[in-house]
Amino acid sequence: MIAAPKPDLITVNVDGRDVSVPKGTNVIEAARQVGVDVPYYCYHPKLSISGNCRMCLVEIGMPAVDPATKAPIMDPATGKQRINWIPRPQIGCATNASPGLHVRTQTPQIKDCREGVMEFLLVNHPLDCPICDQAGECKLQEQATGYGRGYSRYIEEKNVKPKRTRLGPRVTLDDERCILCSRCIRFCKEIAKDDVLGFVDRGSYSTLTCYPGRELANNYSLNTVDICPVGALTSTDFRFKMRVWFLKQTNSIDTESSVGANTVVWSREGVIHRITPRQNDAVNDTWMADSGRELYKAVRAADRLASCRIGSAEATLDSALLTAGTLLREAAGAVAVVGSGRSSVEEQFLTRRLAESLGTSAHLVSRTGPGDGLLISADRNPNVRGALVTGLISALPPSRLEALAAAIDAGKVRAVVSVGEDLAVAGLTAAQLAKIAVVYLGTHVNATSAAARVTFPTLTVFEKSGCFVNQQFRLQRFHKAVPGPVGAIDDLAALSKLIGAAGGSAPADLHAVWRELAPAVPALREVSLAGVPDSGLVLDSAPYAALPFVEGETLHYKPAAKA
């Protein structure tokens, strides 16, 4: 990985325009800053430089000085300092900006270089675009449009290589398409720290493969598919499913853990086809875990709740609300609310309002697992920080609802409203569930929905908008990618109606909630929903510095030193 750029700026000249860049920036990035596109394949901003594709060739030169006196040599024709151009082109990815460096990217020599490199890359590349999943987002297609010759001069025979090698459970390799850029190899070695890929054989016979007896099975393997500039590495799940140009992109957040990796959800006509990472240099760089890419499958799972229920019978929203209201009134004074670290900030705010209007406080349950030191943290709830910020809870949640269980056993709690938490998993026994009246808001069938007296079907993270607060106290927005199933109710609307049934009142849509949330929550007083940038907004974490958060170190996050 490139070391964090030092703040001292130096000036370089790209195609006649001066640009100030931090020291250590390479020519590709410096050119990008003045809007000059230097084509490349093997370079990746988050990986080491290997310089093997030669697509990024540029001409470079330095201002001429007299070797003896170090005095600048002027060019009498222009009156400026003469530039000593290096006669042969250099690769831009491995050339770091140095003060006064001059770069030319538009000369006939560079054009020839690019066309030559393209022609060589295409020598053995199959004419696979009609059956290739990368078509539409393929660097080779893009650069061929700019620098290809449109017909082939190659009359020799093209190579034949294996077309569907299984590299691992989630990645399939088409060897013919590989341009040997080694991005995938470097990713496995440098980021995933699972050095399984390498090239065997030489020349045109070079082939990407796993080390003998190993496979590409780590939980970050699909990132190699993302960074493969061509269609060589394909996702076995997404393979041959849909052309990317039909897919709508929606910004979202990975809900697997409190890392809150930024993602893009790709959907067509209300059906999600894949999830890929979205670059956020302060959170997840350009990566995400494989496990987070599968979460969309819950959206169209067979056990999805899609209608209100009273007991096990389907009911209308109104009658379900009426029944819930009656249950809550009957148990007045003995109602508990269980919120969730998976709910959005807005939902947690309304959960707090619900608890307040019922005269109780909310319980929350933690969900932990081993952190992997990269993009999955030990806290598997995406939004425990949100619950702290919105005042839903004031201490870190326990891993089981023991206090609630004890209260139920003692008869002090006779009804529980659970906002998306499966109470059976959270530590209540079947006997305890049977003793109380459960009102459940949830997305899928589970033990709690089976035991619930009233169930409201709500939306998954892909079907609604809102915010999460990740482990860095970074407020991040997620957006609605697809509509929810017919019959499901937006969580905010359901909570608002429940608050109504409990005798309070609360707004039911995102923007209206924010109008009340911003003034009511100290940390968000200065924040507006529209003002949260795509890269998130870091909130003040000082008030919570003393809490013993469970997270260990992950990418871009270091836990506060334990006192």
């Binding site: 004419l127 675009c129 190579n159 034949v160 569907r164």
Partner: protein
């Protein structure tokens, strides 16, 4: 605009008898009675469709019976009225055409939407979709007017192939060598 009054000419005697006009009319009638017929007893008789006619879009197979479409969805993308709807899919590894890897699982063309523009045929990189000589599409319901994959292949049949690009590739693979 100036108005120019025109004087109507009085009819001649012959014109007032109407006889020349009647004779002329009868001449036309008789001429058509003896001329060769130009109309057809449609639908029993069908016109000969000229080559290059743009009729109903169909899917075709190559002379070896392989379905040529690889479900690249370019036709779906280009179709101006969005008449085409494809569900892509892979080809099973034990199939004789496994080397092509991809084929449509379902392919629907809504003939109530199709405007017979021929863009799909023009864009297809596999020469798999052809507007052929079939011109009459009728049905009693909207569903009947949607041609599914089976129907499209039934309408399309087999067309000659110049390239056999996939077969060449497979042969090279089996030979263990390269190909052009």
């Amino acid at each position: 605009m100036a108005v120019v009054p025109l004087e109507r000419k009085p009819l001649t005697f012959a014109e007032r008898t109407y006889l020349p006009q009647i004779a002329e009319g009868l001449r036309t009638t008789w001429r058509h009675l003896v001329r060769p017929k130009t109309t057809l007893e449609y639908p029993e008789q069908r016109p000969a469709v000229p080559a290059g006619y743009r009729g109903v879009p169909t899917l075709v197979k190559d002379p070896n019976g392989r379905e040529k479409c690889v479900s690249c969805q370019l036709c779906e993308f280009v179709c101006p009225p969005k008449a085409i709807r494809i569900t892509p899919g892979g080809i099973a590894e034990d199939s004789a055409h496994a080397h092509v890897e991809k084929a449509p699982r379902e392919f629907e063309i809504d003939m109530l939407r199709c405007i017979y523009c021929g863009m799909c045929q023009e864009v297809c990189p596999e020469e798999a979709i052809w507007l052929q000589s079939q011109y009459s599409m009728t049905g009693y319901s909207r569903e009947e007017m949607v041609n599914n994959k089976a129907r499209l292949y039934e309408l399309g049949g087999t067309l000659p192939d110049e390239h056999f690009k996939w077969d060449h590739k497979k042969a090279a693979e089996e030979r263990g060598g390269g190909h052009h």
